[in-house]
């Protein structure tokens, strides 16, 4: 188990380096000037030239290496050990200046939001998305497993068809429709909840339900299939013959094994849910990560594009690792 964790953690920086290279190559080719306001005046040519030089946007390779240097923490280490950081801090102090901000993994400035650094943007948005995504996953698990089990008890019964139908609706209905409908019913018509809805614990309920529905539907179908298969197997028949109560058969024996496919689905699902959904965040006005995935690309905000992609990739690796660990923990037979 420890070997697995160590192996994955060694792989992580390599994966990130490859993803960084691919993302930058693609993002670099987005047409347009990231330093230009899309609706407004065009800045003077000398201004554009100066800004491009400042952000190293005039040369791909110069950008590539300087970003890698800053984001990997190499520059931080070099400055620390060469004494350059200390010298700079001292110089700033003697000049009466504020000490320079030092970040280990410096993901750079945002080109669109010039007062913000990508690190700050992610630090403010990621916890929001994670809380929302985690709540959605928990809701999805409860709803999905309940619906899946209910359907599997009597396959092709009315309950089964009904839950399947609801699941299908959950998968097919776009979240912006569900979200807008929930908003219209609860805050606007009934006066429960509010918009912008972030800050109070209850504010998370409506967006989390909206976000959870597609996941719940998928989990319901996985659970149902797994349960039907398990309920027909020999050990269940044995348990029933021994007179084990039906709830114990369902939840203690069958579900334990039927849950494994759900668990492997949870890795990517959690990474996806916790890095934010553009639509849900936009409709419910939630300050999460999802908006940055879309807006950063539209604005060609290179630093932010790479920043959010790297975070997403890390989360994906991390959650898959957690799922693998859980897998072994639940089912020691897997090696």
């Amino acid at each position: 188990m420890l070997g697995l964790i160590i192996r994955r953690l060694i792989q992580l920086p390599i994966i990130l380096a490859v993803i960084y290279t691919l993302t930058l190559t693609l993002a670099w080719r987005i047409p347009g000037n990231p330093l230009e306001n899309p609706e407004g005046r065009r800045p003077a040519p000398e201004v554009v030239a100066a800004m491009k030089a400042q952000y190293r946007l005039d040369s791909f390779w110069s950008f590539y290496w300087s970003y890698l240097d800053n984001a990997s923490g190499l520059k931080y280490l070099r400055d620390s050990f060469s004494g350059r950081a200390a010298a700079q801090a001292l110089a700033a102090e003697s000049a009466g200046h504020a000490p320079p901000t030092r970040i280990i993994f410096d993901l750079g400035p945002s080109l669109q939001y010039r007062d913000q650094r990508v690190n700050n943007i992610i630090a403010s948005a990621l916890p929001v998305s994670m809380a929302l995504g985690a709540t959605a996953i928990l809701i999805a698990l409860v709803l999905g497993i309940a619906a899946g089990v209910a359907g599997a008890i009597k396959p092709n019964s009315t309950t089964d068809i009904l839950t399947l139908a609801i699941a299908l609706v959950g998968i097919s209905l776009p979240t912006f429709v569900i979200g807008a409908a929930l908003l219209l019913i609860f805050p606007v018509l009934l006066g429960w909840g509010r918009i912008p809805s972030w800050g109070r614990p209850v504010d998370i309920i409506l967006p989390a339900i909206t976000l959870s529905l597609p996941f719940a539907a998928y989990i319901a179908r996985l659970t149902r299939l797994g349960m039907i298969e398990q309920l027909q197997s020999d050990y269940i028949r044995t348990a029933r013959a021994k007179g084990v109560s039906e709830p114990a058969v369902l939840f203690k024996h069958a579900l334990k094994n039927a849950f494994l496919p759900v668990l492997s689905y949870l890795g990517p699902a959690a990474a996806f849910a916790m890095t934010g959904s553009f639509v849900v965040e936009r409709v419910f006005v939630i300050p999460g990560m999802g908006q940055h995935f879309v807006n950063a690309v539209q604005n060609k905000d290179l630093f932010l594009i790479i920043g959010v992609v790297l975070i997403y990739a890390s989360m994906l690796v991390l959650f898959n690792l957690i799922v693998d660990v859980l897998y072994r923990w639940v089912d020691p037979r897997i090696e």
Binding site: Q54, H97, T101, A131, T135, I195, L326, V330
Partner: protein
């Protein structure tokens, strides 16, 4: 099975911890939705309206526009009075005894420091041209650009902190040597201009000219020893570091969530302030913005873009019809539309407000001699462009598609938006004349004419308008068209490279003078996307720039605009924009109907909250018969 619950219990605990750590702030006295989150609070770098709007609450330039007067009179702000030399070239501003939000006095040096910053190519101000109205401004920028290039050549390989320091000291010296903006004592600033600029007072009130507290902001400077460039650590615009001289100060800034402002106790004019706290939550979805207003979470939505806004406008005119007698009586008194709404019976339908804006929606014609693919460009012939313009039924677009009370535009500059400026008549809808002109240009009934391509961006409803144009041109002139939809970045690139035939466009004026529109059609202007080049037009602009009599100057500019919209038609004006606001006039006052969307939001006052004077603010009544835009 139970052990499986442990990780999920941990997850639930983590959620509760995150949510618990994120306490919402109490409701502010006044909450409004800006167009989007502010992109920067660095006054010199600002160019978006939402940024400018916040800047005008937290800071103050030398002068300001009185948004509750019909001609937006320039009134004292940080300067208590000023003198202008007879040749309109020298402005002397006398600062009032004002303080920064940290209690320090506002000095002339704070203004000069900000203007020097704005002129640096390192800062990259979009509105650098505004500050370059000051004599020597451009020379200073050019000097600095050259000096930086020189520095980079010498030190790119061998970074030298001492040399970077020297360059910065030299730059500050050069600024006082080259730029004709000087502090003559500790309350007086004298500015000499490059040329007489009748609208300079309007420009000097723009956010690019807002001062910075030099003693604080200079602490965030840092020099790059390899390039010699100066950078300001971004922390300087974050509270509590951010020191401003306006009626409010920034209390907290949660990026993409909420910007909180609090009354600045050191501001000189406390009696003008109507509330103690303001909150600007970030709501980017247009439907959610309206819902936030409907649920009472916000008091003002500054830009109503929800798809159902046409219905909102229609409902308001139903409301007016139901109260026709009262409305007509109030209107006959020449009252401000907001004041009329305030006096009519309470009704949620009246909360939408539509005001004419200082902006125009139009289409660009590419006037280059050849098309990007090398073919001869028929649009280079002004007769063809005029024919196309005459063959468009603009009413079908404004009243059939837009439906928010916008007026069709025969001209580029919205008429009546600049006092004493007489707009030309422009061209109307005239199919016969259009056909005649096209035949004269050698394409009778569109024979031999190329297929035109209309370039648009995805969102914003341009597709319907493009289809209307295509239909009119096909029906009246026999010209076929295609429509190309592009992402906005690609769109902008293609316009810049003149790689298009016809494209949608818009322009909003920055200051109350015709040149803010007309300069965009000058040969080789950075915003002349049309490749339009007319020596006659350029000569008119030059003549106007050197004309010192304001009335004569306007006659020249009127002739220049006439040339654009009646003869040459490098662009096809369709309609004038409106500003659409959502607020309850019976609950809040202080929101202005300024066409450039300028708001001095410290005037905002909630009625019956015990704070501020609670007196309604409105434009003074017009005399009956004076022009005013009709309500939707």
């Amino acid at each position: 099975m139970l052990r499986l619950l442990i990780p999920f219990a941990l997850l639930a605990a983590a959620i509760i911890a995150i949510l618990g750590a994120d306490r919402p702030l109490p409701r502010a006295d006044f909450t409004f939705i800006n167009r989007g989150d502010v992109t920067t609070l660095d006054f010199q770098q600002m160019s978006w309206q939402q940024d400018n709007r916040v800047a005008r609450i937290i800071a103050e330039g030398l002068v300001a526009a009185d948004v509750f007067s019909h001609d937006y009179t320039i009134v004292p702000a940080a300067a208590e009075r000023w003198e202008v030399s007879p040749d309109l070239r020298t402005y002397t501003f006398h600062l009032r005894d004002a303080k920064w939000s940290n209690g320090a006095p506002v000095k002339p040096g704070d203004f000069l420091y900000a203007w020097m910053r704005g002129l640096l190519p390192d800062v990259g101000a979009d509105y650098i041209g505004f500050i370059q109205h000051i004599k020597g401004g451009r020379a200073f920028t050019d000097w600095r650009s050259a000096a930086l290039a020189d520095f980079a050549r010498k030190h790119a390989e061998s970074p030298d902190p001492a040399a970077a320091d020297d360059l910065w000291c030299e730059t500050k010296r050069k600024f006082s040597e080259l730029v004709s903006a000087r502090a003559t004592d500790d309350r007086t600033i004298v500015i000499e201009l490059e040329r007489p600029t009748p609208y300079f007072l309007d420009i000097v009130g723009f956010v690019s000219f807002f001062p910075l507290c030099e003693s604080v902001v200079s602490r965030y400077e840092s020099l790059d020893p390899a390039s010699g460039r100066i950078k300001w650590n971004q922390d300087w615009t974050k509270p509590p570091n951010f020191i401003t001289n306006g009626p409010f100060k920034v209390e907290s800034w949660k990026f993409k969530r909420d910007l909180r402002l609090r009354r600045n106790p050191y501001y000189w004019n406390q009696s003008a302030i109507g509330v103690d706290t303001m909150s600007i939550p970030t709501v980017e979805d247009p439907v959610s913005s309206v819902m936030a207003f409907e649920t009472g979470a916000v008091d003002w939505v500054s830009d109503v873009l929800a798809p159902f806004r046409t219905e909102m406008v229609a409902q308001k005119s139903d409301f007016y019809k139901e109260h026709k007698a009262e409305y007509d009586a109030l209107n006959a008194q020449g009252l401000d539309p907001i004041e009329i709404d305030r006096r009519l019976p309470p009704d949620p339908r009246k909360n939408i407000h539509v005001f004419p804006a200082f902006g125009t929606y139009f289409w660009n014609f590419n006037c280059s001699r050849t098309l990007p693919d090398g073919r001869i460009n028929p649009l280079a012939d002004p007769r063809v462009r005029r024919a196309l313009a005459l063959a468009v039924d603009k009413h079908a677009i404004a009243d059939g598609i837009r439906r928010v009370g916008e007026h069709v535009a025969p001209t580029l500059i919205p008429p009546h938006s600049i006092s004493n400026y007489q707009s030309p008549k422009g061209l109307g809808f005239n199919p016969d004349e259009a056909r005649r002109l096209l035949a004269e240009a050698g394409y009778p009934d569109g024979k031999g004419f190329i297929t035109l391509d209309l370039l648009i961006t995805k969102d914003g409803g341009h597709e319907l308008i493009a289809q209307t144009l295509a239909k009119d041109w096909q029906r009246i002139l026999g010209i076929n068209t295609t429509i190309s939809v592009q992402e906005v970045k690609v769109f902008r690139e293609r316009l810049k490279n003149k790689n298009y035939m016809i494209s949608r466009a818009s322009w909003f004026g920055d200051y109350g003078d015709p040149t803010t529109f007309l300069e965009t059609c000058r040969t080789d202007d950075g915003n002349n996307d049309r490749a339009y080049s007319s020596p006659k037009f350029d000569a008119l602009l030059d003549r106007a720039a050197n004309e010192s009599d304001p009335a004569a100057r306007f006659r020249i500019l009127e002739e220049a605009e006439r040339l654009l919209v009646e003869e040459d038609l490098p662009l096809l004006p369709i309609f004038y924009y409106v500003n659409m606001y959502l607020f309850d006039a019976n609950k809040v006052t202080g929101i202005s109907s300024h066409p450039r969307g300028i708001q001095l939001l410290y005037h905002v006052d909630m009625f019956n909250d015990g704070k501020g004077s609670n007196a309604p603010l409105a434009l003074p009544p017009l005399k009956p018969g004076t022009h005013d835009e009709p309500s939707p």
